[in-house]
């Protein structure tokens, strides 16, 4: 298992290097230069703009700028924000918890709602609960989360006054954004677990288990579900990127500070170090979460461990 994890981490290095190069190049393709953007509105002379460029190191060729950035990175330095002059790492870290809390809660809701609904539907296809679950899953997949978010605010905050419409104070302000963001993933999970279970139940090993006198609960939990849940966990890992993107929109709708909206604003302000840092940070988070997911799959399914030959 250790060897497996180390192998995956090694593979992640070129991936992250690629991510940082793409992030670096893309922001340089946007029209206008950062020095001019920073001085906009103050009637800067060309000399002032040039001086600032030199101070920010923007006068050097791209490969040199990128090289310097990499050297800093190896020393654990993500650079300083063009706008605030603060370290990029602390800028990101101060915003990340809010985004992770939101994404994590959404994920939790997806699992708590989606998996049981999928199990009920998979065990008894066509039953009342299966049909109810399908209504929820179809609606969850069909309704965009940002629309659902607006709807929730209208009903539960504006009309019923049960929860605040905006803000980050306490648990009550987390409910609507987390449910709005998690709903669609709950729907995906429901469908996935249900269809996998139905498939597994038709497999020969289930018949064998039953023939050996296994009870239905044990058939479900120890045999069918264990197999059905493997693609589900892999899918969850892959959805992390989508959930983080969704969190950016949800953060704006609910007035929550966070990494997503910070990244969007930094792109608009041409704050290159922050954009690079944030993209890299999200990239690392993505790689790590998927590593955990793969290890989890390894725990559940010994077959995958044997196939890995790094």
């Amino acid at each position: 298992m250790m060897r497996f994890a180390m192998g995956r981490l090694l593979i992640a290095i070129p991936v992250l290097l690629g991510v940082s190069i793409v992030a670096f190049l893309i922001i340089h393709l946007i029209p206008g230069n950062p020095a001019q953007a920073m001085l906009f509105g103050s009637n800067p002379t060309p000399t002032q703009i040039h001086d600032l460029e030199v101070r920010l190191g923007l006068d050097q060729p791209l490969y040199q700028q990128y090289g310097k950035y990499l050297v800093g990175l190896v020393h654990g330095d993500l650079g300083t924000s063009f706008v605030t002059g603060r370290g990029v790492f602390s800028e990101i870290v101060s915003r990340a918890p809010s985004t992770f809390v939101l994404s994590g809660s959404a994920m939790l809701i997806a699992i708590v709602v989606g998996v049981p609904l999928g199990i009920v539907g998979g065990v008894r296809p066509g039953s009342f609960w299966d049909r109810a679950g399908r209504v929820i899953s179809v609606s969850g997949v069909a309704i965009p989360y940002f629309w659902l978010a607006l709807l929730f605010v209208l009903i539960f905050a504006v009309r019923l006054r049960l929860v605040p419409a905006v803000g980050t104070q306490g648990f009550s302000s987390l409910i609507l954004p987390a449910v709005a963001l998690g709903w669609g993933y709950a729907a995906i999970l429901t469908r996935l677990v249900r269809s996998r279970l139905i498939e597994e139940y038709q497999d020969e090993y289930i018949k064998t288990a039953r023939a050996k006198g296994c009870g239905e609960t044990r058939v479900l939990l120890n045999h069918a579900l264990r197999n059905a849940v493997i693609p589900t966990i892999t899918m969850l890992g892959l959805q992390i990127g989508n959930i983080l993107t969704g969190a950016a929109a949800i953060e704006v709708i609910f007035g929550r500070p966070g990494l997503g909206s910070f990244l969007v604003q930094s792109i608009a302000a041409k704050n290159i170090p922050v954009v690079q840092g944030a993209v890299l940070f999200i990239g690392v988070a993505y790689v790590l979460i998927n590593l955990v997911v793969d290890m989890l799959v390894g725990v559940i399914d010994p077959r995958t461990r044997k196939q890995v030959t790094v």
């Binding site: 002059g85 209208l154 605040p164 905006v166």
Partner: protein, 566 residues
């Protein structure tokens, strides 16, 4: 003060918990939420019932000494001398006082009131201003206000390290500040600067504490603002809120705001909510008592909701509109530019697309700006027939496709707008009106700073702008040739007589004579058809009806000195 969306949030100044916005969830209610969440998805009819806010009412938040204002962007800095955002000025107007106030009067005029200066004198050639200062004023940090503070503030603005985005330009040809005695100060310019009389009344020239400027440095002051205003800075949590607390010793407000004394509110919070719908919802739930710049459709609802009040306060400046690039074809032909102006019906735009939320604009500056020439308003009164005949004259003849053409070349415009500044829907309307006279247009959208760089390059035919400022000298930033490479002259307009006309107008101290000069200049600009006006800039605020005592400045933004929640 350009209305930009630029800038990243400054640092977190303190990590105190957010102010207590009402939070309304008991455990029993939470269970009800859970049940209702599951129940809601099938309830399409329920949805429709919730969709319309008109005619409804909101629960009054009741008397309170805490006012929370919903604002639409992040402050770039809280140093008024450095900021380029109106938002920062709005917040800073609670923390800082100007030397002199310039405020609208009941009869629709404007009047100067003593602020930190008790009297002022302008040299006949407008190259120096002498102020007599109040002797009983203290800064929030306990230091005493003297002439040295005025000098420190202005010197801070011109310090390159400050990177002033708005104040430095407004200060014009600043030379030096001379301390005559402790309570007399003379501000000198290298050239005549008549605009300073109005400009100095804006919050960007709010007087800063010299001790704090020294302690925190030119950039650090932006996260530790110290002034003499009715509220003291408490904290700024990035992406979340700025909070101010009452300054109990305040007694030097302008007489226009009522008897001297501290603010009625104990706490003044600015909650950052980028999304207009979020601000509207928070206003309806009572989390906000004042919301800035709601969507036109929500403004319509506010107007018909009991318990809410809408303010649309006229502002000085340049209207929302499209500068027309005179250097790029086909708009390098004045007849095409005139045709564009004739083709667009601003009154219908405001009534339909903008749902009557604002006021249609027909000029290069708004009616409340000195130098506005009312007669020029009708120069391009909506007339699509005239537009078509101008295009015919210019050689752009009607073609089968609906788009006019000249020598096989179709009549096409590039429109580049700033994203998220309210231009999207109105632009679609303009495009459809242009289409009706045979001009086809391609629209793209960029964030403000990116768009500004593209505008300076001149890749577009029509750009998008709005501009808040108090003196007609603002035209110096918008239409003079030196502003083409990196400023706001996005029409790429260059006329030596206008350049020198604006410089000369700024030497005239007499108000009436100066206004007459500017009327001449705005008329010339209208004749050159370098700008398609759409709707006037204004202060757009929706409030809980129990919020009283707001006073609005000439740029349409409120002062909170006498504000109270009753």
């Amino acid at each position: 003060m350009p209305g930009t969306t630029a800038g990243n949030p400054p640092e977190v100044v303190s990590s105190r918990p957010a102010p207590d916005l009402p939070s309304t969830l008991s455990r029993r209610r939470f269970l009800a939420v859970g049940g209702a969440t599951v129940g809601v998805l099938g309830a399409g009819a329920f949805l429709a019932a919730c969709g319309s806010g008109s005619g409804s009412s909101v629960a009054s938040s009741g008397p309170s000494d805490t006012l929370t204002v919903g604002v639409y962007q992040e402050p770039d800095t809280l140093d008024p001398g450095a900021s380029g955002l109106i938002l920062s000025s709005l917040i800073a107007s609670g923390i800082f006082d100007p030397l002199v106030w310039w405020l609208p009067t009941q009869d629709g005029g404007k009047q100067l009131y003593p602020g930190l200066a008790t009297s002022w004198q302008v040299a006949p050639d407008a190259t120096s201003y002498t102020f007599k200062l109040r002797q009983d004023v203290d800064f929030h940090d306990g230091t005493h206000f003297t002439a040295a503070a005025v000098k420190a503030t202005l010197d801070h603005i011109v310090d390159p390290a400050t990177k002033s985005r708005s104040a430095k330009g407004a200060l014009g040809p600043y030379q030096e500040t001379r301390i005559v005695d402790d309570y007399t100060v003379e501000v000198r310019f290298s050239q005549p600067n008549a605009a300073f009389l109005h400009e100095m009344t804006t919050t960007v020239f709010g007087i800063s504490s010299p001790a704090a400027l020294k302690q925190y440095g030119p950039i650090g002051f932006g996260s530790h603002p110290v002034g003499t205003g009715p509220f003291k800075f408490q904290e700024y949590v990035t992406q979340d809120h700025v909070s101010l607390v009452q300054n109990p010793g305040y007694k030097w407000g302008p007489s226009a705001f009522g008897p001297p004394g501290p603010a009625k509110l104990k706490n003044l919070n600015f909650k950052i909510l980028l999304d207009a719908t979020a601000r509207y919802n928070a206003l309806r739930t009572g989390q906000l008592q004042l919301a800035w710049n709601l969507n036109p459709s929500d403004i319509q609802s506010v107007r018909s909701t009991s318990g809410l009040t809408h303010y649309n306060v006229p502002s000085t400046g340049q209207p929302y509109g499209f500068p027309i690039n005179v250097k790029k074809g086909p708009t390098d032909d004045i007849r095409v530019r005139q045709a564009i102006n004739f083709a667009v019906d601003q009154d219908t735009l405001n009534k339909t697309v903008l749902q009557g939320a604002y006021e249609a604009a027909h000029n290069v500056i708004t009616p409340s700006t000195p130098g506005y020439d009312k007669a020029a308003d009708t120069m391009y009164a909506y007339d699509p027939v005239k537009a078509k005949s101008l295009l015919d004259q210019a050689g752009w003849v009607a073609a089968g496709s609906g788009t006019r053409a000249k020598g096989g070349q179709p009549l096409e415009l590039e429109i580049l707008i700033q994203s998220s500044n309210g231009f999207d829907l109105p632009t679609q309307y303009v495009v459809s009106q242009l289409k009706a006279v045979g001009i086809s247009a391609k629209t793209s959208s960029q964030p403000f700073l990116t768009a500004a760089a593209s505008y300076n390059e001149g890749v577009q035919n029509l750009s998008a702008i709005f501009y808040y400022d108090v003196d007609p000298y603002l035209l110096n930033n918008l239409v003079t040739s030196e502003q083409i490479p990196s400023g706001f002259n996005w029409a790429h307009y260059s006329d030596p007589s206008v350049d020198s006309g604006i410089a000369q107008a700024n030497t005239v101290v007499d108000d009436a004579a100066r206004t007459a000069r500017y009327q001449q200049i705005t008329r010339t600009l209208m004749e050159a058809a370098i700008f398609l006006p759409l709707w006037n800039v204004s202060g757009v605020f929706s409030a809980a009806s129990n919020l009283t005592g707001l006073h609005f400045g000439v740029t349409g933004y409120p002062f909170f000195h006498a504000a109270a929640l009753v």
